[in-house]
């Protein structure tokens, strides 16, 4: 397997949460180089050239996003690191934060300089108590070393980072919900336009980047954009963290090049299926993206390839399901999550997520009808593209794809036949 970049902590005996040991591994050289050898616009161009695309889920080109910050507004510019990682099946950012926090801090300092920001925030998911402690210590250590605060690295620049803990709502990971929450309000996503780059935290220009995205920035400075582009497909390259969970022998976070074949991630990295089980389906990018049947999984894991297969790379949360999985029950579980997490602001999402779950409870409980299946699809369809943020789409996409790809199982459930899933659990009749 390749050299690990983002998960370098796995290859070294050094404790990278200790700043002295981190420095011993060449730490903070990239940041020093960025702040002393580059102009901010030069960094933006470098990241543009690297074709780095956001790792939070949408895959938006990072350098392009940075260039949207309007100049000379007279307002401060904020950088917001989204560490609210909450998409079911996703647990990659936590690895970076807990084991290699300075890698992230370097990315934040470099990005802050590039967008002319003096105050950056890390919005960390409330449940990540360890990660929070690690970050607070890392920031204090970096400040003591003169890497944060006034005159960082002996320059005229001031850059500081504050950590803000969320309280566990999924919607706080949506960038404008996150901004509202950071401001101390309910995390109701904002209507766009205006976009955060123009009107973000406290009404000021704001860039929101994912943890893994910012971690990549450090390595782009260190090794160059050509190096970055050489890893995986040129349109969206780089080292990538894949979260493999479900019915595999070794679930976990794996670093592999962007574009690594999905089957490799399951069979080689994650050790293959559990003994005696066969692959039934995979959700490739976190619970909100369309599901793939086993025969559709011969794809490469990069933004464009997964999109071509009718799903999304999303957060690269690969949820593997074997032949014992009841697709009705699985969908019911996923839908329960989105029903629970809908913020309730927009009508279609607030009412639709609950309706979906109620229908799925009926179907799963054996009292559903053919009509329920039609209504289920039609409700999901009515939710898509009609709301302020994409949570409604996130709830609707699994429903529509499960129904389309496993129609036979749903039909069996409403006809009162035995669940098609092999043993393990039977539907509640």
């Amino acid at each position: 397997m390749n050299e690990k970049v983002l998960l370098h902590f796995q290859d070294t005996s050094a404790d990278l949460t200790d700043i002295e040991q981190y420095l011993g591994e060449g730490g903070y050289e990239a940041t020093r180089k960025a702040l002393t050898e580059y102009e901010p616009d030069g960094l933006v161009n470098l990241v543009k050239e690297s074709n780095l695309r956001g790792r939070g889920g949408a895959g938006f080109p990072t350098g392009l996003k940075w260039s949207f910050v309007p100049k000379d507004t007279g307002k401060p510019v904020y950088l917001l690191c989204n560490a609210d990682e909450s998409e079911p099946g996703t647990f990659k950012d936590r690895e970076i934060i807990e084991h290699d926090p300075h890698q992230l801090l370097e990315g934040i300092i470099i990005a802050a300089y590039a967008i002319r920001c003096e105050i950056a925030y890390i919005y960390i998911r409330g449940e990540m108590a360890l990660g929070y402690k690690v970050l607070v210590k890392a920031i204090a250590d970096a400040r003591n070393k003169g890497f944060l605060g006034k005159n960082v690295f002996g320059t005229q620049l001031s850059i500081d980072i504050h950590v803000h803990r969320g309280a566990g709502a999924y919607i706080c990971g949506e960038e404008t919900g996150l901004i509202e929450s950071l401001e101390g309000k309910r995390a109701y996503p904002r209507i766009k336009p205006p976009f955060p780059a123009v009107y973000g935290v406290f009404g000021c220009p704001t860039i929101v980047n994912n943890v893994e995205t910012l971690a990549c920035v450090k390595h782009i400075i260190e090794r160059g954009s050509d190096w970055f582009k050489s890893i995986g497909p040129e349109g969206g390259p780089g080292p990538k963290l894949y979260c493999v969970s479900g019915h595999v022998r070794k679930p976990g976070v794996y670093e592999a090049p962007m574009g690594t074949p999905l089957r490799d991630l399951i069979d080689r990295y994650a050790g293959g299926m559990l003994p005696g089980r066969t692959l039934k389906a995979v959700i490739p990018g976190g619970s909100s993206v369309p599901i793939l049947r086993a025969e559709e999984t011969a794809i490469n894991m990069d933004f464009d390839s997964v999109a071509k297969a009718g799903s999304m790379l999303g957060s690269a949360g690969i949820i593997v399901m074997d032949n014992t999985t009841c697709m009705v029950r699985a969908l019911r579980t996923i839908t329960h999550f989105y029903h629970h997490e809908s913020c309730g602001q927009c009508t279609p999402c607030r009412e639709g997520t609950g309706w979906l779950e109620k229908l799925l409870i009926r179907i799963d409980s054996g009292v559903g009808t053919d009509e329920d299946l039609k209504v289920l699809d039609s409700v999901a369809q009515g939710m898509m593209g009609t709301t302020i943020c994409v949570l409604a789409d996130a709830a609707a996409m699994p429903v529509r794809s499960f129904l389309a790809k496993f129609a036979d199982e749903f039909e069996a459930h409403v006809r009162g036949e035995d669940c098609r899933a092999d043993a393990v659990h039977r539907r509640v009749a």
Binding site: A169, H339, T347, G382
Partner: protein
């Protein structure tokens, strides 16, 4: 000005106009719940989805996703479709979502008849429910959230108009949304009650039956109510209102929008004034004194006798009025005094009160027409300096005031009282002419900023009482003055002479009123009584 096309209608609209407003300007409606022109854009109900067929003349491409009209600012060359099949499908979908957890208790809901859920169901829904009845989420009903407002959480569609009103207009923050998803509910913020002087506005702006008025609850079906444009008499702001009545009774008062005066709002004190209309001490007949006691009189007889009494008593005359008189009444009283040789015209109502200007709609001066009477030549005085022979007291009760009027009232040879109720002063009268309240008459007021506004008769005066302008016009006629046949004729005469509004009739006042050249120059200026004026 951007030129845009909505459903094949092309119109020019001001910069910064959103699609809902632009459609309205073109005479079309885009269905919406959460959008309110007086509040910030929330964009949560998703009812105003429209299709953008072309973004602008520079970007002739459309947008693949439907957009919300409230948050879409028009650009020159924008082409919008708001009633095509795609849009109607989406709107039907949103409406279905809104209704699945709604209790559909229209038969017992006060909002029925003016409910946007009902209206848009007719326009876009018409569907049968696909939702299992027993699956509906249940929430609290009939929650008293303040002295004037009742909340039904099940009917609430969570549009947050009320929350935004209390945040942005009153800045009192009593309401908020608790919980999330389909468990979201409108609730009081911890330790609060919706108890501010503008609370009832949230009932008006609630597009459904979630917030209802505790006073109006179960009183009347709204489709039986008749609406009459009027002006609030609660203070010198002169908020524009609608009076809702049925069969001679007033049931409620609602604000009528006027951007020069009250935007979309009014205060709760103003809303409560109509209840005085049904008070027990209303005068139901004019009265004449005969051998020491009052006897009922037809208003024509009382007016004629009043005219005779005034004519037969020589000596100084004073018109004593409150600042509640309409311009027409104030003018006619002045004309009567002129006809009798001229006299002093005073306003006894104090301009100050226990209320303070709240910097929004409530003025310290609790009377609607002080400016108007000052413009007609009235002066402010709490009392007279010496007795007069002839007193004309109009909608005023000096006998109950802080200053002692007993001596003046007792010594006057002729005391005529024009009033809508019995009070301390009517007891001193030789003749009492029973008149209707301002809800029972046409007329005009001039507010504290010099704006002349018209009110219309909403209900008939009690049998035996007539409109003030009619009663005073009759007296004036009996004295040989001009006979006016309508409030409009009176207004036309006084507008030219006193307000610098010549040629301005009722029609020109329209619904929004007209700013006169008379400014607030007299406000608060109490003019000392000029004794010489009495001897004139």
């Amino acid at each position: 000005m951007p030129s845009i096309t909505i459903n094949d209608v092309t119109i020019e609209v001001p910069d910064g106009t959103n699609v809902i407003q632009a459609a309205e300007m073109s005479g079309q409606e885009i269905a919406h719940y959460c959008y309110h022109p007086g509040l910030s854009v929330a964009g949560n109900c998703r009812m105003c989805l429209v299709e953008i067929k072309a973004l602008s003349s520079k970007q002739p491409n459309g947008l693949p996703k439907l957009q919300i009209g409230c948050n879409t600012i028009v650009q020159d060359g924008m082409v919008i479709e708001s009633e095509n099949e795609k849009v109607r499908d989406a709107r039907r979908g949103v409406l279905e979502f809104l209704l699945i957890n709604h209790p559909i208790d229209c038969p017992i809901c006060d909002q029925a008849g003016e409910c946007k859920l009902q209206e848009y169901y007719i326009d876009y829904g018409g569907h049968d429910s696909r939702f299992e009845l027993k699956s509906k989420t249940e929430k609290h009903k009939a929650v008293a959230i303040g002295p004037g407002v009742m909340l039904d959480q099940e009917r609430c569609i969570l549009c947050t108009r009320c929350v935004r009103f209390l945040e942005e207009v009153t800045e009192t923050h009593e309401l908020t949304i608790h919980e999330r998803g389909d468990h979201s509910e409108l609730s009081l913020a911890h330790g609060k009650s919706v108890d501010n002087p503008y609370a009832a506005n949230i009932v008006d702006i609630c597009p459904v039956g979630a917030l209802t008025s505790r006073e109006f609850r179960f009183e009347a079906r709204v489709w039986y109510l008749q609406s009459t444009p009027s002006v609030c008499t609660g203070c010198s702001t002169g908020c524009n209102i609608e009076v809702h009545s049925r069969a001679g009774s007033i049931y409620r008062v609602k604000p009528r929008s006027n951007f020069e005066v009250n935007d979309y709002w009014m205060c709760d004190y103003g809303r409560a004034i109509f209840s005085d209309n049904g008070r027990a001490d209303r005068l139901l007949s004019s009265l004449s004194r005969e051998s020491g006691g009052f006897v009922n009189a037809r208003f024509e007889d009382a007016a004629l006798r009043s005219a005779r009494a005034l004519q037969s008593e020589p000596g100084p005359i004073a018109v004593v009025a409150s600042a509640d008189l309409s311009l027409e009444e104030g003018f006619l009283l002045g004309e009567i005094a002129e006809q009798l040789g001229g006299g002093l015209k005073i306003i006894t109502s104090p301009a100050s009160s226990e209320f303070c200007d709240d910097g929004f709609l409530i003025s310290e001066d609790r009377h609607p027409n002080r400016q108007g009477l000052l413009a007609l030549g009235y002066v402010e005085a709490r009392r007279l300096h010496k007795s007069v022979n002839r007193l004309l007291v109009a909608r005023d009760n000096p006998a109950a005031g802080e200053e002692s009027w007993d001596a003046y009232l007792e010594s006057a040879g002729a005391t005529i009282v024009i009033s809508d109720n019995f009070d301390e002063t009517t007891a001193y009268a030789d003749h009492v002419i029973a008149v209707g309240s301002h809800f029972e008459s046409d007329g005009t007021f001039m507010n504290g900023k010099g704006r002349v506004q018209r009110f219309a008769k909403a209900v008939d005066a009690p049998t035996g009482a007539v409109e003030g302008w009619r009663a005073l016009g009759y007296v004036l006629g009996a004295l040989g003055g001009t006979r006016y046949e309508s409030a409009e004729e009176v207004f036309t005469a006084l507008a030219a002479r006193h307000l610098g509004l010549s040629g301005i009739g009722y029609d020109a006042l329209g619904n929004d009123g007209v700013q006169s050249g008379v400014s607030a120059q007299w406000a608060g200026a109490s003019v000392p009584l000029d004794a010489a004026a009495l001897d004139r």
